[in-house]
């Protein structure tokens, strides 16, 4: 295992940024956010960022193609560019797991080349959580905040940051930084992991019921009368979908730049009424149906197609941000039989 003293971390960040693009969570007035590294930035130690890390691979808005239109003629312009190599430094275990959830959508045949390109050019340094919060429930989905995956796993313990490579990309990154890193044993890390797990064990949402959300219960959950009460206060703002690291529904739209047409995709939300609106009618008339769709997708539909992998990683962002304090934890408890 490699390590560096936290007082030397700025040098390490600077060395990575000299090599390739670096993104990391930094503290802002509104809380932690990912940003492109600038000299002097220091890594936020907040439990997690306001926005998830999905932007790195599936940005909120991205150009897909351009068109030149002249009379009856159309020319299609491929605007795709090869992404530069980049490092995400300090993603938490939940966000790292969310990449796997997204991979199964975007890398499934036919592959999404926009997403794949970014995934291939990224190196993810995942940082174990030291201070999980009340809204955290990654462990309900079998995620260990003390043992994050990613190309490199990192831990903070006893004034040092420790690194363990998990992939070839991780090895490459660490060997490029070897002049700054020292060889260490893992004793301090083991202690830090135990501390994290002890904190996690004391948090209120650690054991949400997941065993009920089996494919064979699809119709039973769909028809559950509890959806009415659960969805009653939902105002359909879509905040949950925007802060969610695994929500990947998108829209494709055209914009007339005055000098041609730009076709772009942007995040969309199943919480919105026009998401499924067609010219004549639409299949989800009320907020109940839209609300149900979001949670059924994460808890039943997605796992049914992905060997039981849930479409939620327990990051807790929707718990913290929902204006009416409704959330997936409450839905799971209600549907999972918790009276």
């Amino acid at each position: 295992m490699k390590s560096i003293s936290l007082s030397n971390l700025p040098e390490l960040l600077s060395a990575i940024a000299a090599k390739e693009a670096l993104y990391l969570p930094v503290d802002t007035k509104e809380g932690a956010e990912y940003k492109a590294y600038a000299e002097g930035d220091s890594l936020s130690l907040a439990c997690n960022t306001n926005r998830s890390a999905k932007d790195f691979f599936f940005p909120q808005v991205e150009d897909m193609a351009a068109f030149k239109v002249e009379g009856k003629k159309i020319e299609i312009i491929d605007v795709r560019k090869e992404t530069e190599d980049f490092v995400i430094f300090g993603a938490r275990a939940c966000d790292v797991k969310s990449f796997e959830v997204l991979d199964r959508v975007f890398l499934a045949d036919p592959v999404d080349t926009f997403y794949k390109n970014r995934r291939e050019h990224s190196t993810v340094v995942a940082l174990a959580c030291s201070a999980p919060e009340e809204t955290c429930f990654c462990s309900s989905f079998g995620i260990d905040a003390a043992e994050p995956q990613g190309d490199v796993s990192a831990w903070i313990a006893e004034g040092r940051m420790f690194f363990k490579p998990n992939t070839q990309k991780g090895e490459t990154l660490l060997s490029a930084l070897s002049a700054l890193l020292e060889e260490s044993d893992g004793a301090a890390v083991e202690k830090a992991k135990e501390e994290t797990r002890t904190i996690m064990g004391q948090l209120p949402l650690q054991n949400l019921p997941t065993e009920h959300f089996k494919p064979e219960k699809l119709m039973e959950h769909f028809n559950d009368p509890k959806w009415k009460e659960l969805s009653q206060a939902c105002i359909g703002c879509g905040t949950c979908t925007f802060v969610c690291p695994t929500c990947q529904c998108f829209d494709i739209r055209d914009f007339d730049t005055g000098n041609g047409i730009q076709r772009y995709r942007c995040w969309d939300s199943c919480m919105y009424s026009d998401f499924t609106q067609m010219a004549a009618d639409q299949p989800r008339h009320t907020q109940l149906e839209r609300f149900r769709q979001r949670f059924m997708h994460k808890l039943v539909y997605y796992p049914a197609n992905n060997e039981g992998l849930f479409g939620c990683v327990g990051c807790g962002r929707c718990l913290a941000k929902c204006p009416i304090s409704m959330n997936i934890a409450k839905v799971m408890k209600a549907l999972g039989g918790d009276k």
């Binding site: 897909m64 068109f67 159309i74 975007f106 999404d112 390109n117 119709m219 829209d251 047409i261 969309d268």
Partner: protein
């Protein structure tokens, strides 16, 4: 860079047939005059006019037509209204094929077929009907029940009367909703007409039309003794990607664009009724 499914190709509309007051059929080829791609009956394609939008349409022409692709499109929204304003020679963009299509080479083979369509619902069925006509020896007796609001609303009436009606082994049963002086055929709604006609229950039925027609035709066929696993339909939902990623057409653990749009009614029974 490798091929991106969401980036379309150019198509050129070479012919526009005015079928009804609100349905036109567009013939599309590639810039070098070929059929855009190979498909199976019931599959769809994304057509777009950049700056207006992109939408999914069922491919009306049969795969046995190797020269061009046809789309019968009803004017009802942004993209379709624009398409109704274009003239031959207009470029569009096209990508596909999308969806599963009808099991013409498996479950339908050797079967007596019953096609029931209402209005523009004939568009996806025309592809299968003409496929079955082309490989006539692979399918049994064919019955086609087709209804629309008026005689003028029957899509491509010419082909129906001049070709389908004149072929051995094919019975065409047309109906319109209300009496018209120039119409001497059946008058009444499709579901009732199907009940009056009383079909043999060994047939495989394929339904496409407005939801209300589907609902009552399905009930009527079941009363006659048809089982749900003998009856197929093709669904419609709003779609953006066509490849199971944008999330819009998600229905239970299925995506209409990828796992559908063709479903058997016994399969639909196990899915939420949000379609």
């Amino acid at each position: 860079m490798e091929k991106e499914a969401l980036i379309p190709e150019i198509g050129i509309v070479t012919d526009i047939r005015i079928d009804t007051p609100d349905v036109r059929t567009f013939r599309v080829v590639t810039p070098d005059g070929k059929k855009p791609f190979v498909h199976i009956p019931g599959q769809c394609a994304m057509l777009s006019i950049p700056g207006v939008g992109e939408a999914l349409f069922s491919i009306t022409s049969s795969p046995t037509n190797t020269e061009f692709m046809e789309f019968s499109i009803k004017k009802c929204g942004c993209v379709t209204s624009f398409l109704h304003s274009i003239e031959p020679g207009q470029y569009v963009t096209i990508r596909g094929p999308y969806g599963n299509g009808f099991p013409v080479e498996s479950a339908f083979k050797g079967k007596d077929m019953l096609f029931v369509a209402g209005g523009i619902g004939l568009a996806p069925l025309r592809s299968v009907i003409n496929y079955c006509r082309h490989y006539r020896e692979n399918y049994g007796k064919i019955d086609i029940v087709y209804g629309s609001r008026s005689m003028q609303d029957l899509v491509d009436y010419n082909e129906i009367v001049e070709e389908w009606c004149k072929e051995d082994g094919i019975s065409v049963h047309l109906t319109i909703d209300r009496e018209q002086p120039e119409w001497d055929g059946h008058v009444g709604f499709v579901p009732n007409f199907v009940k009056e006609l009383q079909f043999d229950t060994n047939k495989t039925a394929v339904l496409c039309g407005p939801p209300i027609m589907i609902k009552f035709t399905l009930a009527g066929l079941q009363e006659m003794g048809f089982k749900k696993d003998q009856i197929y339909t093709t669904l419609e939902m709003r779609m953006k990607c066509g490849i199971g990623k944008c999330g819009r057409c998600n229905l239970g653990d299925k995506f209409i664009c990828k796992d559908g749009p063709v479903f058997r009614f016994d399969q639909l029974e196990e899915l939420p009724d949000e379609y």
